[in-house]
Amino acid sequence: MSATTGAGADLVLLPDDVEEDLRASLDRALAARCTPARVAAAYDGDESLAGELWTALVDLGLPALLVPEEHGGAGAGAREAAAVLDVLARHAAPVPYLSSAVVAATTLTALGAGGLLGDLAAGGTAALLVPATLHRADDVVPLVRHDDGTVSGSVRSVTGVAGGVPAGVLLVPVAGPDGADGADGADGAALVAVRPGDPGVDVAPVVSLDMTAPLADVRLDRAPATELPGDARAAVSAGLAAGAALGASALAGTATWALTTTVAYLQQRRQFGRVVGGYQALKHRLADLYAEVEQATATARYAAAALAADDPDLAVATAVAQSWCSEVAVHATEEAVQLHGGLGMTWEHPCHLHLKRARAGALVLGSPAAHRDDLATLVDLPPPHPDQGGSPSWT
């Protein structure tokens, strides 16, 4: 019988040899350096691990994966970048790969901003100056561009600009000069590049729920800026879309870590003379969790494959992967804490590092609810009309 095929039926959801090799070498590099104690140190102010890890990533050529070859990058695909995010998540690695090597790199690629892309390929970092939870270019609140080309305004809760590997360049959405129309489009919407070290740039780190992806509040006061030519809105859209599509793999990686770590613990831990993993109530919960996590992996790979193939199903795939993987990552890490008992509540055990990554990561680049809202539009399931109640009719 011939299979009834669905959307995106041609997308391959299994890793090829290149991806397997990449996963293995990254895993080795992280296992040696990224210990739970060093990750936890960021919560007490020591963010030195991030720089060491980033150097290791640069040595492996990973920040260059999505940079086109003509700009010194690897010109590799979204599937490989998704694999990197997955493996980084399993080690709770505190590096700005998603914000810089995915969102910023994709934004700059859309603009064809060769110089900055070359910096990224060589190990530099950049960040889009929007709140960490933003996922639609339509929702961007632009900063003000003055007549002299400097930029002012503030954005709260930006990711990738603080921490051990802060952004070397800020990509700042601006409106036309002092609100007037600009040169690049009828409405003057543009992206400009701002250097964090320049005068008028204030980056104030924030105490974050997930210190492996720390936030900062950024205030610009007539900061020098260089305009990046091109369709700014389309570029930001592309950057955010890539971030959401691939961010799902990070969430799936967190969920996978939680499941496998919990299963391994329960295979050893004894209570009441029996291996705890043999208690049927826990077995059934873990079986259900296994199903959820497998599904998370499938949706994340599907989204990455859709991005890699520029498949028309990308938007639906992303909404599905983000909403599903976000909730599964939270659920899986919560179960990990619960099923490790008191141990999972301690600072020493890595459970909490992943719980915080999941809880915060679920909101980054759009909450599950926001992505389901997108889906409602994409697949023609419109929300109820506000007038649904009907007017009182017994009159």
């Binding site: 019988m1 011939s2 299979a3 009834t4 095929t5 669905g6 959307a7 039926a9 997308l11 391959v12 959801l13 299994l14 299963v263 329960l266 295979q267 029996r274 291996v275 993993g277 043999g278 049927q280 826990l282 077995k283 059934h284 873990l286 079986a287 259900d288 296994y290 199903a291 497998e294 599904q295 998370a296 992996t297 499938a298 949706t299 790979r301 599907y302 639906v316 909404a319 599905v320 909403s323 599903w324 389901r372 889906l375 409602a376 697949v379 023609d380 399931l381 929300p383 109820p384 009309h385 007038d387 649904q388 109640g389 009907g390």
Partner: protein, 400 residues
């Protein structure tokens, strides 16, 4: 599950064989059964089966090459839905455990649809715990006499033959005293009664066996090896579940359309949120099925498939319950409570209430969700097995 990767040589050979079959037996003028027999003889019935039994020993993935060509030529098919148990369960079991003589005798009428099969496994006291079957088969010369009660037998009232699991040694521990037979259903010792379900219809039957006769020549596998044979049969059953369906296929499509067409008063924010979540979950399951199919393209199905069945059951139940609420007052209605005996389940051909009720069976039939969770926990995750008190005790001494 996939059409990818058949070697071009096999494909060309198959095309030639199809051409030859069609040339020798013009579908337009050949009688249906004659055509099916000719197809069987040509090895084009099921190409993965060995030569001589309707196949050519080729990869299963090549079957669509034949089916598509014959379908396009207007050839009759063997109406596979009429004999799902025969094709899906009996055939693999006969191929794996049957003697050459049994294969020769049983496979052709099975494939051509001359003999419809059913399955006599479950009993009132042996549901999830299938190895507890109490139906006794007692030797009587070169035959066996079978007495007992079976339940949840679909197609029993239509069937010519049955896969039968019966106890031949009550003194052995329960898994070791069972034997597997191919029973002739057309005999006086077999009584079939409709088993009415909560939907009102009788999709299944109870089968009462009273001194029913089965020749020892119809035993499949060794005496006492029934448990191993039955497990192979059940594995075949689960292969079919979870292949990649289209987006919004089945129940999701029905409910999504119900939303799109519902009067505004029924479209609550609550229902909308639930629908979106179920849409996402359906898609998560669809992509998981795609990934599993790609993994299994060459290999055999593993226990991971259990998670697919678990998910489909859960989804069908939640979707159908949501649909009841989406229908407003109409959710309180039902189409027909009359006792009917349908040939097969039709989830989308009936009304909301039927879907809601029938979906309850999805997490029971073909392995309960509880048993599937045990399988995943033990065989996929490697967690310890349940404590078993009945492993080494003679069946007759077990508490019941």
């Amino acid at each position: 599950m996939t059409t990818a990767g058949p070697a071009a040589g096999h494909r060309a050979d198959l095309e030639a064989r199809v051409d030859a079959l069609l040339a020798a037996h013009d579908p337009a003028t050949t009688e249906r059964q004659a055509f099916l027999d000719a197809r069987y003889d040509a090895g084009l019935a099921w190409v993965h089966v060995p030569e001589g039994h309707g196949g050519l020993g080729l990869p299963r993935a090549l079957q669509p090459v034949v089916d598509d060509r014959l379908g396009a030529a207007g050839a009759p098919d063997n109406d596979p839905r009429r004999n799902g148990i025969g094709l899906g369960m009996a055939a693999p079991t006969i191929l794996a455990f049957g003697t050459p003589a049994q294969q020769e005798r049983l496979l052709r009428p099975l494939w051509t649809g001359r003999e419809i099969w059913c399955q006599l496994f479950s009993e009132p006291g042996a549901g999830s715990d299938l190895a507890a079957v109490a139906t006794r088969a007692i030797p009587d010369g070169d035959r066996w006499r079978v007495t007992g009660q079976k339940v949840w037998t679909s197609s029993a009232h239509l069937a010519d033959r049955a896969l039968l699991l019966a106890r031949t040694d009550p003194d052995a521990p329960k898994h070791r005293g069972l034997t597997y037979f191919a029973l002739d259903m057309r005999q006086p010792g077999v009584e079939v009664r409709p088993l009415r379900q909560l939907t009102g219809e009788a999709e299944f039957n109870e089968v009462f066996l009273t001194d029913a006769v089965v020749d020892d020549a119809d035993r499949l596998g060794d005496v006492g090896a029934g448990w191993q044979v039955a497990n192979a049969t059940l594995m075949s059953e689960r292969v079919a579940i979870g292949s990649g369906a289209a987006r919004e296929a089945g129940m999701l499509g029905v409910v999504a359309d119900a939303w799109r067409t519902a009067p505004s008063g029924h479209r609550t924010a609550d229902a909308h949120q639930r629908l979106l979540r179920l849409w996402v979950e359906s898609e998560a399951l669809r992509t998981t099925g795609m990934r599993l199919a790609q993994k299994l393209a060459a290999g055999a199905p593993g226990p991971e498939g259990s998670a697919m069945k678990l998910g489909f059951a859960r989804l069908a139940q939640q979707l159908s319950s949501l649909e009841v609420e989406l229908r407003g007052d109409d959710g309180l209605r039902y189409d027909d409570w009359t006792l009917r005996r349908p040939d097969q389940v039709d989830m989308t051909g009936r009304d909301t209430g039927y879907r809601y009720l029938r979906a309850k069976g999805n997490s029971i039939e073909g392995g309960t969700s509880e048993v599937l969770r045990n399988i995943i926990a033990e065989r996929v995750l490697g967690l310890p097995s349940e404590h078993r008190v009945d492993k080494d005790v003679a069946w007759k001494d077990l508490p019941r």
